[in-house]
């Protein structure tokens, strides 16, 4: 049995590496309070803008805060935001997309037109608009990313469900008068699980991407919280004088998103076979 679980990892190195990277982040974020040398907002006024050293592995920022600690704690925001936002997008998107595919005709037409209109905005613009008006907070960020992702996931779900809905076994179910809920939940959903899992993994990565971008634009969690994107934005001016204050949080973002990206690629390959 354990071998069966490991089999996909053996067949797709990308999946294995990605999973390892994501796991590393999960562990360090969860264990941040024990791993971090100090609290994320504790200032050491004796050590302002210090380069990385044995005492401060990642250096300190202009307020003397330990960058390593801030990066470790910063991972916890993403840990919260990305899965929650993806889940909202997935549930909503799958429901919308599958309904559009099942009911077809004008239902499909109306839903797709609306989704098109929403997707006529670049994602960042949409999130920026919404968060400016709602105000930046973790809850709002989760909600907005989830809502923005829903149309994209709905498209994937619709495309996959359309194939299934035309299959003979769905017609057989309709002939024996099964209701839409049964058909969608029992006949269709199990067969579009694959594309949805792949899409979900891709979206997890982009949720990290988007929340970091929103943080960078100052629309997410507010200072002095140790959000990675926010840290890059705050220390942008120090790029030439104290690059470590920017590089490490940027590197952390890169590490996590690349991890998800590799995972998604591996899953997509396995799915394709």
């Amino acid at each position: 049995m354990p071998w069966r679980v490991l089999e996909p990892l053996r067949r797709s190195p990308a999946l294995a590496v990605g999973l390892a990277m994501v796991a590393a982040w999960l562990v360090t974020a969860a264990a941040a309070p024990w791993l971090a040398p100090s609290g994320p907002t504790v200032s050491d006024y004796g050590a302002l803008s210090q380069a990385p050293s044995a005492a401060h592995w990642f250096g300190t920022d202009e307020y003397g805060r330990d960058v390593l600690s801030r990066v470790l704690f910063g991972g916890r925001y993403v840990l919260l935001i990305a899965p929650a936002a993806t889940l909202i997008g997935l549930v909503l998107g799958a429901a919308i997309g599958m309904s559009a595919a099942y009911f077809g005709r004008w239902v499909d037409e109306v839903i797709m037109r609306l989704l098109d209109a929403v997707m006529a905005f670049p994602i960042v613009i949409l999130a920026l608009l919404a968060l400016t008006m709602l105000g930046g907070s973790t809850g709002n960020v989760v909600l907005v990313i989830g809502l923005v992702f829903a149309p994209l996931i709905a498209r994937t779900a619709r495309a996959a469900a359309l194939v299934e809905v035309r299959r003979e076994y769905v017609q057989a179910a309709r002939i024996r008068r099964e209701g839409p809920l049964y058909v969608l939940a029992v006949e269709v959903l199990p067969n579009i699980r694959g594309p949805l899992v792949v899409e979900g993994t891709i979206r997890l990565g982009y949720a990290v991407f988007t929340s970091a971008t929103l943080g960078f634009l100052g629309l997410g969690v507010q200072p002095p919280a140790p959000d990675w994107g926010l840290m890059v934005a705050e220390n942008r001016a120090l790029l030439t004088s104290a690059p470590w204050t920017v590089l490490f949080p940027a590197g952390a973002i890169a590490f996590v998103v690349v991890g998800f990206s590799l995972m998604a690629d591996g899953l997509r390959d396995l799915e394709g076979r």
């Binding site: 209109a117 006529a120 608009l129 400016t132 971008t213 634009l217 942008r236 973002i253 998103v257 690349v258």
Partner: protein, 318 residues
Amino acid sequence: MTRFVLRRLLLLGVTLLVASVLIFLMTSVMPGNVGRIVLGPFASDASVAELNRQLGLDQPAALRYLQWLGGVLTGDWGRSLTLDTDVLPLALARLGRSLLLAGYALVLLVPVAIAAGVAAGRRPGGWFDRLASVVGLTFGAMPEFVTGVFLIVGLGVGLGWLPVQALPDEGAGLVTWLRHLLMPALSLVLLLFAYLFRMVRTGMRSELAADYTRTAVLKGLPRRRVIRHHVLRNALLPTITVIGAQLGWLVGGLVVVETLFRYPGIGSLMEYAASNKDVPLLAGCALLITGVFGLANLAADVVYAWLNPRVRHALAGA
């Protein structure tokens, strides 16, 4: 063909109309009180009410929407709350600079991604395919500001090859412009490369496996001719639509890249409007960007229809 373009324009109009409703809803009707958002928590209730009245927010939403829409259609996009100027001329001026940056990025991106996709798709699993895939996966997942930071630290600060400021001095020559814009453009290109590359590669692979490719091989055609004459035109056609769709990412990326590199385009203007709660400016920028994005998509669809014999004939018949 003309009818097709007209139909698509009409559809674009509908989409933009819905989009304008969305923008309006988000900027004017959503919970929260615009006057309060603008003036902040410490302003007095009276001044909040006064601002709301000035903005016409005491009137019913539908009426306000119609007034706003009327203004938009007649060129009166309102006035910025924080910069003492009309929204439209300001946004248009900034848009010009952004289009320059976006165009630059596209010119770099499209040929490279297509060439790489074709080369990788010809030999799936080969060293080049793996290399390009890893590069794509890595940079395609990273936010532009992260890539930008790495570029600045590497090429700008570390090696000193490129200027860190995106905007050159007044009256600089073209080469200087291009040098200054190279890093911002590169951060956009690296993000978009993955997707376009993957689409071209997938297209190549599936067309190489298609029955008609087998027919061409079994006709005794040399491999070069099979690829150039038979496979490429089918594999590359869908990428046109992909490029159209990518413009959305490009435009979204502008907000981030222009902010990071302090380049005065429409993206950084939007960031400014957002952080200063300048609602009319924000709404105007969003509408303009959406319109440009829609037009770009439409152009891609038209080119696609025109190049695809099947669609072209259907249209000519219609």
